[in-house]
């Protein structure tokens, strides 16, 4: 059609800048990936730059032989799954309870909860409390502090308040208690917001790093994020140990674990779960933060 305007100078600049920034965001992921599947010797010298060379997949098998790696993967997976379930359940239920005008001291308790978003005692007092509670070197330290999150509860409360109250009332007249109403009426209604919370919470748990740093010295409780951080600093010695314990190896130089192959491969393994769930949650999170934005 003639109405369609021609491509302007502005469009050219606009598309170019956006494309360049997109490339900047995408390239690191691509660069690490091609390095995990290329000749390890070339990769460690930085010669794999734009496309993979001599493709092999042995790095992915090898990193699971690093002592403690499999355990760390289990710990990360465990805290993500259990932590997310607990957070979603608690946020859903508590968010619903706070919509009940008749709750004893509702206004007070709601403020008691929400105000914790705005202060924080500081690192040392927090560390000392965690220690006094026996949460050093304890898997529960990954779960308990994350259960109640004011922001998620605000999201649920706002969402429940936007659903028609008549549904709840009719169920109550039929003799349903609060818990039944929550389970049978509210839960199906608030699934979209719970999905949003599940995504945020799962990503948060998977990415969490510094609780391990502060609270855990027991190697059996190390997470993937934590051992990745250690490998970034000590990969050379890990590679050395693997070359020795790998022993009688028939591996040639191109597949021999190097500091670079360990760093890149572990990084890819930590990134992949996020890449896998990312397309699913893209459609939820926009909705999620917009609800949050309305409430401020």
């Amino acid at each position: 059609m003639a109405i369609r305007s021609k491509i302007s100078f502005f469009d050219i600049i606009n598309y170019t800048v956006l494309a360049l920034f997109t490339l900047t965001c995408f390239f690191p992921f691509y660069y690490l990936f091609i390095n995990t599947i290329s000749n390890n010797d070339l990769s460690s010298r930085g010669l794999v730059m734009f496309y993979p060379i001599e493709i092999h997949l042995s790095n992915y098998a090898q990193v699971f032989q690093i002592p403690g790696f499999g355990q760390a993967a289990l710990v990360s997976l465990g805290r993500t799954v259990i932590g997310t379930l607990l957070t979603v359940a608690a946020s859903g239920f508590l968010g619903y309870l706070f919509t009940k005008q008749e709750m004893w001291g509702r206004r007070f308790w709601y403020r008691f909860l929400v105000i914790t978003m705005y202060f924080n005692a500081g690192l040392i007092p927090w560390y000392l409390i965690m220690r006094n509670l026996g949460l050093l070197n304890n898997f529960l330290a990954y779960l308990l502090p994350a259960i109640v999150s004011p922001f998620y509860i605000i999201l649920v409360k706002t969402y429940v308040e936007s659903t028609p109250i008549s549904l709840q009332e009719s169920a109550q007249i039929d003799g349903a208690g609060y818990f039944t109403v929550f389970w049978k009426i509210i839960m199906p209604l608030i699934t979209p917001i719970l999905a949003t919370i599940a995504i945020f919470s799962a990503v948060g748990q998977w990415n969490q790093f510094y609780d391990t740093l502060f609270l855990v010295t027991d190697q059996r409780l190390y997470t993937l994020q934590f051992i990745l951080w250690r490998y970034l600093n000590e990969a050379t010695s890990v590679a050395e140990i693997m070359r020795q314990t790998g022993g009688s190896t028939r591996l040639d130089l191109s597949m021999m674990p190097t500091a670079t192959s360990i760093r890149t491969t572990v990084t890819m393994i930590v990134v992949v779960p996020i890449l896998l769930v990312y397309p699913f949650f893209q459609r939820f999170f926009v909705k999620g933060i917009m609800i949050g934005a309305v409430k401020g």
Binding site: F26, N35, L47, K100, F112, N120, G122, Y178, N207
Partner: protein, 318 residues
């Protein structure tokens, strides 16, 4: 049992009876969660007491010396310590200020993206630019390491093969431009995500405003200037006010991970300083005193930002 007949008569008494019985029951159901809030958010405030003792790990508090406000005055008592605090505060202010300056970038990015008419291009850009927000700082550092490291890093190799440099430079272990580098990593990670709110705000602008502007002969730039920008100003303002409230809370994860012996003097923000003094240096009393000061200053900033928001927009943020 009298419940049966009275229930049948009218609905109002039922509801009242229901409420009297249930208001405590509702509280009891919420109680376990409130206990968790108390333990993990309020109980640590009790730990502020350590700021008034000469506490060393391993010795119980009851056997430690009470030192009053010693740790608070110690922050600025002697020349060495004073310059140390000034350095840490300068890092904090510089990085936060750069953060506030770069907070217009997501606005620009959002406007640019909404000006794109090709839907699939738009989708691709949004997908890839939002992704970095969902990876941890450890992973970001791993990327940085691979791209910028001194032996075999991507950038050094590219520059050397182009013949632009002779020797590889160690960008990560450098004391140059640390504040800027930290800000740029923050932009790389947060830009696409930060733009989402603005994109939603732009989508919410009444299309009739654009139509009216077109009828009046407004060019594309004029439409952006007179319709789009005023449309997203409220969102920008709220986020700006929040970032003022968080001016001294940079967090520590990014800085902790990117820190090394070379750049420590320029990367050490308040939160990282508390960690270095308290956990690494085992000086719990002093680190807690710094935390307390920090809490009061950020509380003050929060009220200031809230007042600002009330004055300008007539709406509070808390």
């Amino acid at each position: 049992m009298q419940v049966g007949p009275s229930q049948a008569s009218t609905s109002t008494p039922i509801r009242e009876r229901f409420q009297i019985k249930s208001k405590h029951w509702l509280f009891l159901m919420a109680c376990p969660f409130l206990v968790l809030v108390f333990i993990f958010s309020y109980l640590p405030l009790g730990g502020w007491i350590y700021a008034f003792y000469d506490y060393r790990p391993g010795i119980p508090l009851s056997k430690s010396d009470f030192v009053g406000f010693h740790w608070f005055t110690a922050m600025f008592s002697n020349e060495v310590q004073r310059s140390e605090m000034v350095r840490v505060l300068r890092n904090t202010f510089a990085i936060s200020s750069l953060g506030i300056l770069t907070s217009v970038l997501p606005v620009i990015f959002a406007i640019m993206l909404t000006e794109v008419r090709n839907a699939s291009f738009k989708k691709i850009v949004q997908t890839f630019t939002t992704l970095p927000n969902f990876i941890s700082w450890v992973l970001v550092y791993s990327f940085a390491f691979m791209l910028f490291s001194v032996d075999g890093g991507f950038l050094n190799n590219v520059l050397m093969s182009l013949g632009w440099i002779e020797e590889p430079t160690n960008i990560l272990a450098s004391n140059q431009h640390t504040w800027l580098a930290m800000t740029l990593w923050g932009v790389w990670k947060g830009l696409g995500w930060g733009a989402i709110m603005y994109i939603a705000a732009i989508t919410g602008i009444d299309q009739e405003l654009y139509e009216a502007a077109k009828v009046d002969g407004a060019s594309r730039f004029r439409q952006i200037w007179h319709v789009t920008i005023p449309g997203i100003m409220p969102t920008f303002f709220v986020l700006l006010v929040l970032s003022i409230a968080n001016f001294i809370n940079n967090g520590m994860e990014q800085y902790f991970i990117f820190a090394n012996a070379m750049n420590m003097s320029n990367i050490e923000v308040l939160d990282l300083y508390v960690y270095n003094v308290g956990i690494t240096g085992s000086n719990f009393g002093f680190a807690t005193a710094v935390s307390i000061m920090k809490s009061f200053v950020s509380l003050f900033l929060l009220f200031l930002a809230n007042g600002l928001s009330k004055a300008v927009r007539g709406e509070t943020i808390i």
